[in-house]
Structure formats: structure tokens, C-alpha cells
Symmetry: none
Subunit: 393 residues, 2 copies
DNA sequence: AGCTGACATGAATCCAGGG
DNA sequence: TCCCTGGATTCATGTCAGC
């Protein structure tokens, strides 16, 4: 409250980028200076305790997920998955994880301005505990947001659904947080004049964006994509705002904040991560004022499962599909697979099997009879595609 | 355990639909009869207490979440600024919801078979508390699944992202629940031969599917779409399984279970909902067997020893096996083991050894030459399996 | 330069059954 | 209960070598 920073309160905030990625100065608790655009190396609870209260506008937190992995996992080609087995992700019990969570959330909450909001990201291993503690502490949940990964790791053993998303909780500091920043109009304008939904479709961080060490190994096991942070910062902050990331890691939050004309504060326990993040941010240039926009999400024809054609009611389970010349037929099962001569297969496999060919496009091969005429299932796919496109990716 | 039902154990389960939606009989605790395809009117904890333990295969639960939290959420907080007092206030009402959740989950858990799984659906208002309690009680989360709504209600005030999804948690009864049902192969076949992800795109329940009363008002405020339940039941149960829904509501679970050849048990406090659900289910017809039943998945096929391939005369002892590219060879011994470079090993071990890999499926690795062409030993296994099936019938 | 195919890899609670 | 073994199992994307 009392920690006003020159140039922030006004309607035209000025962007301050002070010695980005250079200082690790520890501040006495009484100081009023905010260590902007710096990475404080140390435990976030301790480091945040040195900052003045009510001084940040937005928080992004990517805490350890407590994955509880046991043993190794191999791909079908026998290669071994490089799992997250770092010490920082190990907790003795759920209650220890809960205590850890409550501690850092308490420290973070103190430095949040009354109208600040926080995003916390997690997976099913930890996000339910984070959400419960947020509620218990009096944070006010505004949305839960799903990051749908364009290219998730598959489930190699076929025992579960592909774990293809992570969850973010967006919450206000309290139920009284009403005047939080939400750039509704600009978000809508950038989304075909359509409100942005709570499910976001984005690729994971790979390629040139992924930080590597001298040996070519990934610097950080869980580096988040810049596009994700860009959406968050664009949605819930203004230029000149201060964005805090208590688990700074490889520095995605800092790099994107700098690009988008926001200030950042980071805390990070691991000096190696902090050093890499500083170098990354130093090499990052702010975008020109008028070019502040999220990178466009890739778009292609959405893939439609034949199961959706059944689910949408175009075809009922138990109906029969036939080819153009009605030489072959197959029964539609409730799960969208086909039953043909005692074999369950996809529309593609069944079409190939029927013709004795190695492959077949089931969408154009199969038809269903309607009023004595054949209707292609491909037409039904077209209708569903249109619907999916509306639910913008 | 002891609640065997005629017609379920065999390989061709027969669908029993006993007096669907007619009886509300209360069962004494000592009874062993399971009230299949009935709706028990009353509180789920009380009603489930009358059922024998370990008697259901799958649970779908759509618990209430708005009313319990309403009091806490709408309470104006003008009293104290001190965060600790805030917390106490909130904790009181959240803890009431937590107790409710723990109670019904305890009752449900008792009637779950050891290898049963449970789906719970909720929104950000309650799902984090449900998830935390599931974990604390020892349930083992398999996936969190996002239902992406094709047609969600927009956010009218433009202060948040469109709340376009709900979250389901899929969990095993305990961490020891390993042999749960997951119909991986047929699901994949219905999805373009691609494994199904944790985000499902489905329309909300509208139109003719939505139950209406005589005045045309919707019977139930949160009726779930049948397509959602169909996916759940097709994914995680077999024909003839017993599906429990402790918050039966408008009866979507029962209607879909009947369609898909599963039995159901429902509990519902509201007699009006129960009556509407009974009528709905009575008007529902089961799908033909072809649309529902599947041949056994690959991993549940009976094991065949390579020795029996030799014994059956498909291969003679002393013959040579080779891989696809004829780079490796091994001699078949009379006992079904292989001799390769002076080492005796199983077909799997020999294949792994040859390639320098930790493991190998010898059935698909090795071939034998017949008339100048390679024949896979896996084909011989298929023939033997077919013979085994004939003999079993 | 541009195409093709082999190879690498990502927050993962990833097997079942017999001795 | 632990240990051992049979044998079932992957999608999207990026890099790089080879032509």
C-alpha cells in the first residue's frame, strides 16, 4: 500500500528495467526499495520476507508438483524416459507438501497488493492440494484454466488416458479483490471477437526456446513455454506492473515480462538455474510498445474422432456402416470403434481390412443409410469440425 | 466378493435388467442380495450402508457443490481485515463441505470392489477439495479429465475467462488397485487409432435429451449429457459390471448403463428426481450386443508357451529362427528354448540379447523360413490360441 | 537448397502373474 | 511378500545426417 513506486500509480506507467539479471543484493526488511528485475537466490519464503508488503501486481507460481515417481519408465522402443527425479520435487508425505504450500502461499500473499491476482500451475499430483489451501487461506478463485498440450508425452503402457494437460488456478488475493486487472476487451479482440475460454491449447517448450547447457542437456526439467506466460501476463497485468515468480527456475516469467514491458521479481533456490535465467533475460529484448501481442497459436484442421460422430448423435451405436457399393458392412459400437466379422477395429483399419489393402481413409470409405440414400460419414465430420473451430483453440 | 451374480463370471456376460426403476426396497444390512437396477431413495451414506461391501465395479459421482458453499461465499466480510480471522471464518464452512465429502466417499469406498475405480465430476468450487480428500483417504488418482464444453455459458460480465470446462477425477480404490478395467484398445480404435487424451470435447445436455416436467421446466438443474457417461462407462467397465451413482439425480448414469449392458445402483435423496429417473430408464432400450461387447483385448489373451509351438509341430527342434532382416539367428531346442552363440535362453531373452536391449518380445522378433519366405512365430501362436478357444467351448 | 527418413524426447504417480 | 519373467506398449515435434 505505502510502497508506491514512481511511475506505477499513474495511468501511463513507465517501464523500469534496472540492471536486469545482475544483482543478487539482499535487502533489509525496512527498505522501501523493490528489487525490480532481479533474481533473489534463496528460499522464496525467506527472500519474500525481505520485501515490503503489498508490492506486486501479479504472481505466477510453478511450484514443485510432488510427482511421487517410482522406478523407471521405458518407451516401447526400450528407451528410458528422462523423468523429473530432482530432490526439490521430493516430499515425505502429503501433509509435508501441504505445509510447504501453505508457507510459500503465505509469504506470497503478504507481498501481493490488495487487487493483485495469482496464477498457480500444477498437475493432478498437487493441484488439488494447492486449490484447497488457496481456498482455506481466503484467496478467491476466479477461474481454473486448463493448458491443453499440443504435444504431450503419450501413455506408453496403455493403462490410462494420455496425461495431456496441466491445470492453472487463477485467484484473487481475497474475496474482496474486485478491481483486479483483466484485459477483457483486448483478449476478445485477439480471439476472433470471441471471449477467451478456460481451456488453452499450446505446445510444450521444445526446440530453440528450450534452454540447454554446454553439453546439450536441458537446463531445467520443466521449463514452461513463453506463449503460456505471455497469455497470463497479457491477460492479468498492465504494462509497468510488477510480476512475481517465487519459483523462477529457467526464467520464463522474467523473459516474457521484459518482452511485454512489465517488471519482474524472481526468487530461486538453485544458483545454477538463476544464472541461466539471468543470461536468458539479458539476451531478451523488450517488444516495441505497439507489438505487444501473444504469439499466434498454430492452427490446422482439428482432428475429429469417429467416437465424436456417435457422441454428437449423427450415428447411433448399433447402426451399420457400408461402403459405396454396399459390398462391406460394419456395426458401429458405442465407443466409436467398428465391429466387422468378429473383429473390433477403427474406421480406417476396418476399411483396410475389408478391401485387403494396407491402409484406408475410413472417413471417405464408410457411409450410413438415410432414407434409402447413402450419407458419407465425412460430411458429419465437417459439421463437427465447424463446431470445434468455434471453441477456439 | 461373495456377491456373485449369475451370468457375469462367464466369458459371455448376459445382460440382466431386473425390474428397472420400479423398486425402492430397503435392504437389511445382513442381506447379500444386491438391489440391481434400482434407485434407493434416501441419503447415500445411509442407503449405501445397507449394501454389502466390495460389490460394485465402477462409481460415477456428481456431488452437489453450490448450496453448501453458498453461505460462506456470499457472506460479506466487513468485519476484520486480519487474514487469520478471515481464514477461520472460511474454514468453518469449507470444513462442513469437506466433512460431507469425506462421509459419502467413505460410504462409497466400502462398497467398491478392490479393483474398482471412481469418477467424480466437479468445478473449481469443489473439485480441489474432492481431490485432496480422495488422496488423503488413500484413493489413487489415475487421471484428471477435462470435459471441454462445446457450448458453455458465456461470462456475461466480462470479468473472467469463459468457464468452459468441468473437471473429473478418475481414481482407483487404493494405490494397490492395479487390475482395474480400462478398455484401451477399443477406445483407441474409436479415436483414429490414437490413444484417448485427458481432455474430452463434448456438448452440454440440451434439446430432446434434457428432461422436462409437465410445465416444460427442466427437471434437474445439472443433468449430465449421456455422451459423457457413455465415455466413462465404455472406458472403465465391462458388460455386466455394476455401476454405482450415489447422486443419481435425473438418472443419466442409469440410462447409459442400461443402454450399454451394465447394471446400475443409484441412490437419490429427492423422490421427484428418482421418479423422473425411473421413467426415463424404463423408456430406455439396451443397445444390441454388437454395439457394446468386445472381443478380449490383446493383453488378456491366454499365454502360450513357445514350447507348445514346437510340440504342436509348427517348428521342429533343430530348426533355425531369424529376425526380420536375417541379421541374427538361433537354433530351436526341443524344450522350447533357443541356442544362440552358445547361450541357451527364452525367445524373449535371446531377442533382447541379440539386439543389446533390456527386453524384447520374442514372438514378434523371431521368424522361421518356409519356402524362402519368413513366417512369424507370432502367427503360429495365433493358430494355437484359436485352437485353445475351440477346445474351451 | 531442399527433401526424406531415422532418431530423439517431453512434469509420468504407466504390467501381470507365477513361484 | 518379494522376485523373476513373459511380453505388451507411443504421439507430436524437432534435429540431423544423407542424398
Amino acid at each position: 500500500m505505502s510502497i508506491a513506486r514512481a511511475g506505477v500509480a499513474g495511468s501511463k506507467p513507465r517501464i523500469q528495467v534496472t540492471r536486469t539479471g545482475v544483482s543478487t543484493a539482499r535487502l533489509p526488511a525496512a527498505s522501501v526499495r523493490l528489487p525490480l528485475n532481479e533474481i533473489l537466490v534463496g528460499d522464496c519464503v525467506a527472500e519474500l520476507g525481505k520485501l515490503p508488503a503489498a508490492s506486486v501486481d501479479l504472481v505466477f507460481a510453478d511450484p514443485p508438483y510432488n510427482l511421487q515417481l517410482e522406478g523407471a519408465l521405458s518407451r516401447p522402443d526400450q528407451s528410458v524416459v528422462d523423468a523429473v527425479d530432482d530432490d526439490w520435487d521430493k516430499f515425505a508425505s502429503f501433509s509435508e507438501y501441504d505445509r510447504f504450500t501453505r508457507d510459500w502461499l503465505t509469504a506470497v500473499r503478504r507481498v501481493m497488493k490488495p487487487e493483485a491476482t495469482i496464477f498457480v500451475i500444477g498437475s493432478y499430483h498437487n493441484i488439488f492440494r494447492v486449490g484447497t489451501i488457496l481456498q482455506d487461506m481466503g484467496f478467491w478463485i476466479l477461474n481454473d484454466i486448463v493448458w491443453r498440450k499440443a504435444n504431450p508425452m503419450p501413455n506408453f503402457r496403455g493403462r490410462r488416458f494420455t496425461n495431456a494437460h496441466e491445470t492453472m488456478i487463477w485467484a484473487g488475493r481475497s474475496a474482496q479483490t474486485k478491481a483486479y486487472t483483466f484485459n477483457y476487451e483486448t483478449l476478445k479482440a485477439g480471439n476472433n471477437d470471441c471471449q477467451v475460454r478456460s481451456d488453452w491449447f499450446l505446445p510444450i517448450c521444445t526446440g530453440a526456446e528450450r534452454l540447454k547447457d554446454a553439453q546439450g542437456r536441458k537446463t531445467h526439467p520443466t521449463q514452461k513455454p513463453e506463449a503460456l506466460l505471455a497469455r497470463i501476463i497479457m491477460s492479468a497485468s498492465k504494462p509497468g506492473d510488477v510480476v512475481l515468480d517465487p519459483f523462477f527456475g529457467s526464467g520464463t516469467t522474467g523473459a516474457v515480462a521484459k518482452k511485454l514491458g512489465r517488471d519482474f521479481i524472481g526468487t530461486e533456490r538453485d544458483a545454477v538455474y538463476a544464472k541461466a535465467a539471468r543470461a536468458r533475460i539479458a539476451a531478451t529484448e523488450p517488444l516495441p510498445d505497439d507489438a505487444v501481442n501473444a504469439p499466434p497459436a498454430k492452427r490446422s484442421e482439428p482432428r475429429v474422432a469417429f467416437a465424436s460422430v456417435v457422441e454428437a448423435g449423427f450415428i447411433s451405436a448399433g447402426e451399420t456402416l457400408v461402403d459405396d457399393k454396399r459390398r462391406f458392412k460394419a456395426v458401429v459400437r458405442a465407443d466409436g470403434s467398428l465391429l466387422m466379422s468378429g473383429i473390433v477395429a477403427s474406421i480406417h483399419k476396418a476399411g483396410a481390412l475389408a478391401q485387403g489393402l494396407p491402409a484406408c481413409n475410413g472417413w471417405v470409405f464408410w457411409n450410413v443409410e438415410r432414407n434409402g440414400k447413402l450419407v458419407s460419414i465425412d460430411d458429419m465430420r465437417g459439421t463437427i469440425r465447424a463446431q470445434m473451430k468455434e471453441a477456439a483453440e
